[in-house]
Amino acid sequence: MKMLQTNLQEVETAADLQKLLEENENVMVCCGRMGPMCIPVYEVMEEIEDEYTNVKFAVMAFDSPEAGVIRNAPECRGFMGLPFTMYYKNGKVVKATSSIQNFKQVTNILDENFGKN
């Protein structure tokens, strides 16, 4: 069941996330709730989705038990602020951030890790 009211693809299970990572070279997944720190990140993703055709954008509900794959990822150790945002290249985590990020911060990470589109 979808839990996040965004226009982005929502990954509901760990298996779906794995599939997404296998099918796409560059993936950004924002794992959060419908809260004030998460919504601005979803909005940035919605805004740039059409522009960054080399990146697959998705969200995952933080409170879903399936999101344990992100919540408990070693890259998220010490994270204490929502959302947990993951950037994957060829299935591997290349960057993870905790808490709100603005447009520039997100696009800088995308450009640095996935190359300018």
């Binding site: 709730r33 004030p36 919504i39 994270f79 204490m80 447009f103």
Partner: protein, 311 residues
């Protein structure tokens, strides 16, 4: 480089800017909203709005989305996550330039940039954001279950959020710069009666320290100047809001707090330039007051265009 010309250009898509967009596009004025952050502004920071008349209970995100849809349905163009690099408000044609080089022109401008949480501005704040420093108790409170926290501030938000954080934390210490609180009596009473809350008054944080996560804070007693280090697992910051007007300095008249000065019709002293919402000089900052300001600003802008065209 585009050279679009609009009737009304609105800077900010919070409650004030979106309302101005609804009114102005519904009046068949060619309207553009440019927004620096997420559409909805502070509304999306609010989990539940229970005092917006006509709507019993709604999340700030949902209310913002309805306003955005209303504005778009009336034909208002909205561009969000842009960064304005230059403002030209003098003269009959108002112009702004974005960082990416695009320029937009309009007959009138409504400035509605709202406000943002005031940061502590001390060493360690940026480094530990999301790793022990938070500005939202509802979002991050549960990461601090069984831990000790510091809450900075002495207004309603600080006291109410400190009480809500005691659901998770074993101990909450409120650090406040004055010897009294600027909050409603019931909020003060509730915080004072909570056995998990203690108070460090007339003091300010000077540094946040730690390795991977926050481990301690340096507190200065403002009366004695003495500094001490206190162990803590996290810091929640609720020290008020700042108007988002720094980049507008010198373009519109402001008071000493950086709030834009307007008359009751939301006019600034520059012809064709109006302002609305939390960024103007006013006492009460609410969704309802922002919506009212946005309405007045849009109607004033429409009147300005009408009368300029007649003369």
């Amino acid at each position: 480089m585009s050279k679009d010309m609009y009737d009304v250009m609105i800077l900010g898509a919070g409650a004030a800017g979106l309302t101005a967009g609804i009114y102005s596009s519904r009046a068949k004025l060619n309207t553009l909203i440019l927004n620096e952050g997420a559409v909805g502004g502070q509304m999306v920071l609010t989990h539940e709005i229970a005092n917006y008349p006509g709507v019993e209970n709604i999340s700030g995100y949902a209310l913002a989305n309805i306003m955005k849809k209303q504005a778009r349905d009336f034909g208002c163009a909205i561009k969000s996550n842009v960064k304005v690099s230059r403002y030209g408000f003098e003269g009959n044609v108002k112009e702004v330039e974005l960082e990416d080089g695009r320029t937009f022109k309009a007959k009138t401008v409504i400035v509605a940039p709202g406000g943002r949480p005031r940061p502590l501005g001390i060493p360690g704040e940026d480094a530990f954001k999301g790793k022990g420093i938070s500005y939202c108790a509802t979002c991050d409170g549960d990461f601090f279950t069984g831990k000790e926290l510091v809450v900075v501030g002495g207004g309603n938000s600080a006291l109410e959020e400190a009480v809500s954080l005691t659901k998770y934390a074993t101990k909450v210490t409120i650090v406040h710069q004055f010897d009294h609180f600027q909050a409603f009596a019931h909020a003060i009473k509730e915080a004072k009666e909570n056995p998990k809350i203690s108070f460090v008054m007339e003091s300010e944080l000077r540094e946040v320290k730690g390795n991977e996560n926050v481990e301690s804070v340096v507190i200065e007693n403002l009366k004695t100047g003495e500094r001490s280090e206190m162990k803590t697992d996290g810091v929640f910051v609720f020290i008020g809001y700042l108007p988002n007007t720094e980049s507008l300095q010198g373009t519109v008249p402001m008071n000493e707090r950086g709030e834009i000065v307007v008359d009751p019709l939301m006019k600034t002293s520059i012809p064709g330039v109006f302002a609305a919402g939390d960024s103007i000089t006013k006492r009460f900052r609410q969704v309802t007051t922002a919506v009212a300001d946005g309405t007045i600003a849009a109607l004033s802008a429409a009147e300005f265009i009408r009368t300029s065209e007649v003369s």
